[in-house]
Amino acid sequence: MIVTILIVLPLLFGLAAIFSNGRSVRNAALAVSLAEFCLALYAAYSFVPQAGMQQVLNLPWIPALGIHYHVGVDGIGLLLILLTALLMPFILYSTPDDIPKPGAYYGLMLVMQAALIGVFSALDGFLFYVFWEMALIPIWFLCLLWGRGNTVAVTLKFFIYTLFGSLLMLVALIYLYLQTPQPHSFSLEVLYAVSNLDANVQGWLFWAFFLAFAIKIPIFPFHSWQPDTYVTAPTQGTMLLSGIMLKMGIYGAMRWLIPVLPMGVHNWMPVAVALSVAGAVYASVIALQQNDLKRMLAYSSMAHVGIIGAGLFSLTANGLTGVVFQMLAHGINTVALFYVADIIERRNNTRNLNLLGGIALADPRFSVLVFVCVLGAVAFPLTNGFIGEFYLLYGLFEYNLPMCIAGGLTVILGAAYMLQFFQKTMFGNAISTPHKPVYAGKSELYVLVPLTAIILLTGIYPKPLLNLAAPAIEQLLQLAQF
């Protein structure tokens, strides 16, 4: 029941907010997102890791076609819902006060949250698809209307790209649906039990699903929408995209691809891992050469998710543990870093790394907080990034040594560009002069301090989170056998 409330609450408030037109909508949206966070915490508190799917609600939706409103969470879904509920207040709070059309903006944000939580909890294929697509509309509008630069072309590219993948997935879902015994069903358990598909058909279906997820994540070479979109979108849109939305792809693969098509996954695993690692190396190399701060972060994000993708398709217990943990860590780190980038850009009116400098002198407090975020991103021990990367590389090592070495290379490259970023912006002489020397004012601290605290806390003591997900990962590995 809690999951349903988590979906319905922001949906209703969001729709109401879209048609409202007041300044108070910001506070209302913040209140809703905080309520969501409390509810998600309660759901996590009452969660029993060993008990499988919980908070299940199963109502007939379109009875004639065997489609149900069927939601529930296991450890993996719960952690992602927690991540969504945790990040949303920060994303909303970090929005500038003078944003135009606040009603529509906050409304779309809340609708987006509802769709994301729906994706992470849907246990019916049709419902999953509806939420999956529903998430696309608000983020498209957010990027189109509040973005900067050539938003029309960039957002349309983004939309067409992701919709292309989604539609292929729809065809695959329909195909699977028709393979289920009469009366047909989209239910997760029924789809898991479909066993009359030969390796060839599974291969086709694998690619249909994989493309949808690979575009969303994005895995090389399906990534070309990503850097432009991240740069053009409003910062909060980028936070949503990189912090939460790309996890839809990873989560989708864990829930709907690997267990449903084990044979197809097994046959194409090497390709998927190779593409992921290649993409990670490629993105790291490009990130090294970027002068545009946001673009660099976009490529760094792509490098991180590349390693997550590789860990995912290595199908080892350690790799999957790393995937789940790194999804959380990456979500938090990337949101913090994009926020940092936004602060720097607002103060200096530039994102060019070569023009920035001297921030540590102007505002040492800010530079310390940024340093923690950077450490998280470069997987320094005692930060959350370290735990995630460690498990991921461990999983890759078990799968294939050269892949692990290539993956490890991206961590080193990551350290290079992140430290370069830190050095260029924080030290040296400023070429551009900020019109406001204080970087971390009160409202900035409200966002950065909690996020850095989480980076450190989950890095020092990750056990509760790992425990939450462990049984679900074990079950996933069992389903992946055939």
Partner: protein, 433 residues
Amino acid sequence: MALIAGLVLAFGITLADWGIRESYFHNMISSDSYSLSFSALLIACTGVSLLLSPMYYNRLNLPYMDIAAMKLFALAGGICIVSFVNLGLLFIGIELLSISSFVLAGSDKRNLLSNEASLKYFITGSVFSSFLLFGIALVYAVTGSFDVTVIGAFYSQAGGNINNLFYVGMLMIIIALGFKVAAAPFHFWAPDVYDGSPAMVTLFLSTMGKIAAFGAFLRLFNQAFLPVPYHIGILTCIMAVATMFIGNLSALWQDSYKRMLAYSAVAQTGYLLLVIPASGSMSADVLFYNGITYIAASVIAFSVLLLLNQYTESESRSQLIGLAKQNPFLAFAVTVAMLSLAGIPPTAGFFGKYYLFTLAAGAGYTPAVVFAVISSLISIFFYFDIIIKMYTGEAQEQLKMVIPPAYSFSIFVSLIVLILLGVFPGILTGLLQ
């Protein structure tokens, strides 16, 4: 007003007959759930068209009542062809619908384009009517009956062991009905007629006229031609896929909003045509659901055109720039309509497409579904272009649009239909099985 009241009455009587199975006039026409539901839909569609008419025709200075009469004749034809049992009545109904449509297309007498549309439609339409008659004659020659149930029994008993003239007759009928619904390669009249006719008539032809023809098409297949022969199935699939691509690709390049809608109507025909090869128990449901959503989305899309026509001669897409600022409600309604036509959840158009694709894939036409998916991706470009235009940019000239109550009402009702059916499609699924 009296006309509308009459239509409401007819609508009510149709609904009141629900569940009763009867046939009239020596088994020429029958009243069953299929005919009743489609009749109700056609009546509602005509009603909306009449509701929107007075303002439109007043500006054009055309006799509103004459045109309304023509629409009612067309409606009578439409009801005949969704309820026929006898192929003779199918022909009469199609003729009644077509001849009224020819007149309607030319109803703006002083407009050259309207005259051209009428003439084109008349000439090609007459030729294809003869195809229909020829097809019916061939089917009669083989089976010895005009009654679809008798034909159906004869065909299914023969089990493939049937005179080839039967298939030729079937093909002729497909060609004729394919023309009526504007399926490629018999679609060439549609963009010109839709574009040349007064916008009000375009709305009427592309909703009432098309759904009626589809109702007849599917009724014929469901009753007489089951199971659909393999080659005929493949052929109609190819027609469907070609129609989608031609419609969507052509719509991309249209600057005129009206012409874009005309091509979009052709593309939607392509999707709907997928029900024909997949005829069977579920197909009626799929067509009915898609018919409603298509009509509702078209009503919204065309209402904007009709409103624009009140204020400016230009029908360019750029007239929509900045509409959201002037009129948020209208812009929102058009957004939902475009999302629905493009098949994006949670609008009704998405479930319609899904339903259609499931039907076609279930009947074994998965490749056609893949093509349909790709073509619907193309359609995003022009449907979303409308949304982008409305929400970004500033209007060049501020049109102080006043939306009359009749327009608000029909837009609102259509909007409710699109959202309600999108969120709760279960209301209609399984209705006609």
